[in-house]
Symmetry: C2
C-alpha cells in the first residue's frame, strides 16, 4: 500500500487539527451527511476502505481465523446489560409483532451468543461488519452512528496468555502494515483495576461505575474525571486521590515488577493474579519481538462491562517525537481484552467459554488515511478499467460492441461510451480523466485491413496490431505494466 | 471455482426437492435459525459466499463499476410508496427521538436517493450489502428476513438500449461463471405490460395491482392468478381472459416482430415504443453473443412499482433438458430493469436521471451451491493456514513462538496450538482435520543442529533443512503447490 507513508511534522499538525474537527465539516461534494447521523460512502471512500480491509483481513487469515457473520439485529435481551453505561445508546426496532429487537452494538456480544447457542467450545474467528450506536455525532467528534468494526477473537480454554499475546501481535502487525506512524499499545488487567479500586477503598458496588470514569482519562483531564467520581458517583475524595496516584503509572515489564512490591496492591489476590499474567504476557511479547511497543498503563480501564482479564488499547503517537517531548495521543485505533464470563451469560447452564479478542478501529484509520491522501494531493482511481474501446468514426457501434465482448469474455476490464456516435476527443478525455491506461481503436481503415490500433493513454503512442492478436497483445501489455 | 460443476439428473432431483423445503429444515449443527427469521452465517457458509461474491464483484469491476455503500437505514419517507404491495414488509426503527427510520428494503431506492441528493447525473456503480424484509419465513420458503443483495446499475442519459444490453450481458457472464447449469433470461418491457393491460381493457387505476398479480405467475398457476385478479382485485373476467392469452406468449426476436402485428397491441403507442426498444435490444444482444439465452416473455411483469422500461429476470433450468420436455423453473436468480422516474422522486425539482440495473439473487445461489457441495460430499476448508508449527518435546513453547513469529513476519499463514506442552499426535491431527498442508517441527535435536524439519501432511514425508533457510524453503514449497 504505497499510499500510506510517514508524514513530515507540519503535515501531521495539519492532519491532527482536522482530526479534532467534526467530520461533517469536511464533507464536501459527493458525500453529504444524512441528518440521522449516518452517511453514504462514495466510490473514493470505498477504494480506501477496500485496501485497508484487505490488509486487516489478510492479517486475520494469516493467524488462522475463520470468517463468520451474524444478523444486524439481535433480540433486545441479548444486548442489554452487556455494555455498562453506554447501553442507553442502542437502536431498538419498532415493535411490529414478534420479539423485541435491537441493532447490534458491537460484534463481541453476538459472537458470544453464537458460541453459547451452538455449544462451540473453541473457535478462532474474524468478523467484519457494521454496528450501530445512537451517539450524538456533534458531541462525539469524528464518529458516525453507523460504523464498521473488524474483530478477531480466540475462544477456548488454553494455557495462559498465549492467545492474549497473539492478539497483541496481530494489532502490531496491522498497525505496522498500515504505516500509520508510530504507535503504542497500553495494557492493563481488569483484575489489577479492580484490585486497585479495592486497595484504594472503592466500595465494590461502585467498581463498574468508577471504571467507566477512569476510561475517560484519554479524553478528559484527571481533575474532571476526579470531579465526576466524587461529585456524581459519590466517591470519597481521599479514595479518588489514592486512585489518582496509581493512574499516573505507566511503563514496561519493570513496572509490573514494581507493582508486585506495592504495599497496597500486593495485598490483593486478584491484583496479584493479574500481575502474574502480565509478567508472563511480557515474556511472550518479547519472543514475538513487540515488547517495546507495549506499555503497562494503570490508567487503562476500558468502559465495557464484560472484560475479566487483560485489556489493551492501541494509540497512534505523533511522529517523529522530539527528545523530551511527550508523544501526542491522537486517539485509540484498536482495542480489546479478555472476557471469560460473557459466553456463560448466554448458556442455559452457565457453562463458560474463555475468550480474548481485539477490534480494529477502522473508521478512525479510514479517516486518517483519507486526510493524509488529501494533504498529499493523491488521486485515487475508483474503477479498475484496463482498456477503453474507441472509434473515430460514425456508425461504428456494432464493431465496438463486438470488440468489447471479446475483451470481457477474455476477462479484461473494459469500457466504452454508451453513445451511437461519440466524438474521439470525448472518448480519449474519458480515459484520461478516469485513468484507463489503454485504448483500442477501430475505424473504417482498421476494419478493412483486419487490424486494431492500441494506444497508450500516458505516452499517446499508437501501434497497429492484427485483429486476431488483440486479446493476447492486451494481456501482454497489462502483465508488463 | 472448481466446486461448481454440472450435476447428473438424479442429483438435481435431490437438490430441487431440498430447494422446495424451508431452509430451517436443513439447518444442522453449527448454525441455528434465530426465531426472528434471521440466521448466523457459519465459517462454512462464509467460504462459499466469499467465492461467489468474488466472482460477482470481479464481473462488476470488469464492466467498469465503482463501489459504493449507503447506511442500513433510511428515512422512512424515503422508502414509502416505492415498492408496491410489498411496502408493508419494512422494518421500522423505534421512535427514540429524531427522524423516523426504516431498514433498507433493497439497494436501488438508496442509490436513487444518493444520486438525487448529490446531484450525480451519471454513474456506473455496484453495491453489495444486506437488506431486510419482514416476510414470514415459513410462508416464503427459502428466504430469510435478512439477506445479501448484489446490485449493478448504470445511471445517466445515453443512447437507447446500450446500457440495458450490458446489464443482460453481465447477468449472463455471472450465471455462466458460477456454473449453475443452464439458464434463461426472460425479458419484457413495462410499457408493453401496461400497453397489454390497456389493450385488454384493464382500467388504468388497476395497472399496478394487476401487475403485482401477474408477477406471481412463476409461483402460482394461471387459474389462481386469474382468481386473484377477478375476485380480489375486481377485474372483469373477460379482461382477465384476454390477459391470459398474452401471458402464454414467449419466444425470441420473432415474437417481437409478431407482436408488432398484433391487432390490439399495435394500436397502443406505449406498447409500440417498448417493442421498438426490445427489437434494438435483441440486435445488441446478438452482438454480445447472448441472444439465445434471452426470451421475450409476456408473462414477466416484476412486482416493484418503480420500473418504467425494459425488465428482466433470470431463471435456472433443469439440466439437461430431455427433448420435448418443458424446462423446469427453479426460481429467479437475478433480475432487474429500467427505472427512469425514481431519481426524480427524490429531487426537489423533479429532475430525472434515467437508470437501468440488475440484482443478483446471491442468497438463492449460495443455497444451491451449498446443497450441491453437500450432495457431492465436498469438504471446504474454513481457514487458509499454510504451515503449522509443532514440537515433539516438552518445554518448547519459547522456540515455537520464535519460529511462528518468523513465519508471520514473512507473510506466511501459520498456526500452533495454544498449549505449553501439546502432544505431537494432537498437533498432527489438528493439521489433518483442518487441512493444513505443511508442518515445521522443532525439538531438542533440531535446535542443537540448527535445523528444522518440514513435514508434508499429505505424504507424511519429512525433510530436514537449515534453520536459516526456513522461510525461503516454505515459500518455495507453497509456490509449487
Amino acid at each position: 500500500m504505497p499510499l500510506l507513508g510517514l508524514l513530515p511534522r507540519r503535515a501531521w499538525a495539519a492532519l491532527l487539527s482536522q482530526l479534532l474537527r467534526p467530520p461533517c465539516a469536511s464533507c464536501t461534494g459527493a458525500v453529504r451527511c444524512q441528518s440521522q447521523g449516518t452517511r453514504d460512502l462514495s466510490p473514493q471512500h470505498m477504494v480506501v476502505r477496500e485496501k485497508i480491509l484487505d490488509l486487516v483481513i489478510s492479517c486475520f487469515k494469516r493467524h488462522g481465523a475463520k470468517g463468520m457473520d451474524t444478523p444486524a439485529f439481535e433480540l433486545k435481551e441479548t444486548l442489554t446489560e452487556k455494555y455498562g453505561e453506554d447501553s442507553g445508546l442502542m437502536y431498538d426496532l419498532k415493535d411490529q409483532g414478534g420479539e423485541l429487537l435491537s441493532l447490534r452494538y458491537d460484534l463481541t456480544v453476538p459472537f458470544a451468543r453464537y458460541l453459547a447457542m451452538n455449544k462451540v467450545k473453541k473457535m478462532k474467528r474474524y468478523h467484519v461488519g457494521k454496528v450501530w450506536r445512537r451517539e450524538s455525532p456533534s458531541i462525539v467528534q469524528g464518529r458516525y452512528r453507523e460504523f464498521c468494526q473488524c474483530d478477531f477473537d480466540i475462544a477456548g480454554q488454553f494455557d495462559p496468555m498465549i492467545p492474549d499475546a497473539e492478539c497483541l501481535k496481530i494489532m502490531c502487525e496491522i498497525l505496522s502494515g498500515l504505516q500509520l506512524g508510530d504507535f503504542l499499545i497500553k495494557v492493563n488487567d481488569r483484575r489489577i483495576v479492580d484490585g486497585m479500586f479495592a486497595a484504594c477503598g472503592v466500595p465494590e458496588s461502585k467498581f463498574r461505575a468508577i471504571c467507566s470514569s477512569i476510561d475517560k482519562l484519554d479524553k478528559m483531564a484527571w481533575k474532571d474525571v476526579r470531579h465526576e467520581m466524587v461529585a456524581k458517583k459519590g466517591l470519597a475524595p481521599e479514595v479518588a486521590d489514592r486512585i489518582g496516584d496509581y493512574v499516573q503509572c505507566h511503563g514496561g515489564v519493570s513496572l509490573v515488577e514494581q507493582m508486585f512490591q506495592d504495599p497496597r496492591l500486593s495485598q490483593n489476590k486478584q491484583a496479584l493474579e493479574g500481575l502474574e499474567d502480565l509478567k508472563l504476557l511480557f515474556e511472550y511479547l518479547t519472543l514475538f519481538g513487540i515488547a517495546e511497543k507495549i506499555s503497562f498503563d494503570l490508567s487503562l480501564a476500558r468502559g465495557l462491562d464484560y472484560y475479566t482479564g487483560v485489556i489493551y488499547e492501541a494509540v497512534l503517537l505523533q511522529t517523529p517525537t522530539q527528545a523530551g517531548e511527550e508523544p501526542l495521543n491522537v486517539g485509540s485505533v484498536a482495542a480489546g481484552g479478555r472476557y471469560d464470563g460473557l459466553v456463560g451469560m448466554f448458556d442455559p447452564k452457565g457453562h463458560k467459554v474463555p475468550c480474548v479478542g481485539l477490534s480494529i478501529g477502522v473508521e478512525r484509520i479510514f479517516y486518517i488515511v483519507e486526510q493524509r491522501m488529501k494533504t498529499k494531493g493523491e488521486k485515487v482511481r475508483t474503477t479498475e478499467t484496463q482498456v477503453f474501446v474507441a472509434t473515430p468514426q460514425k456508425n461504428f457501434l456494432q464493431e465496438r460492441l463486438k470488440l468489447i465482448t471479446e475483451l470481457w469474455d477474455a476477462g479484461i476490464k473494459a469500457e466504452m461510451l454508451y453513445k451511437n456516435n461519440p466524438k474521439l476527443l470525448t472518448q480519449l478525455h474519458y480515459c484520461e480523466s478516469t485513468g484507463i491506461p489503454l485504448v483500442v481503436i477501430i475505424g473504417e481503415q482498421e476494419l478493412k485491413e483486419g487490424i486494431i490500433k492500441i494506444r497508450s493513454v500516458a505516452s499517446r503512442e499508437e501501434v497497429a496490431i492484427k485483429r486476431e492478436n488483440l486479446v493476447a497483445e492486451i494481456q501482454k501489455r497489462l502483465s508488463e505494466s
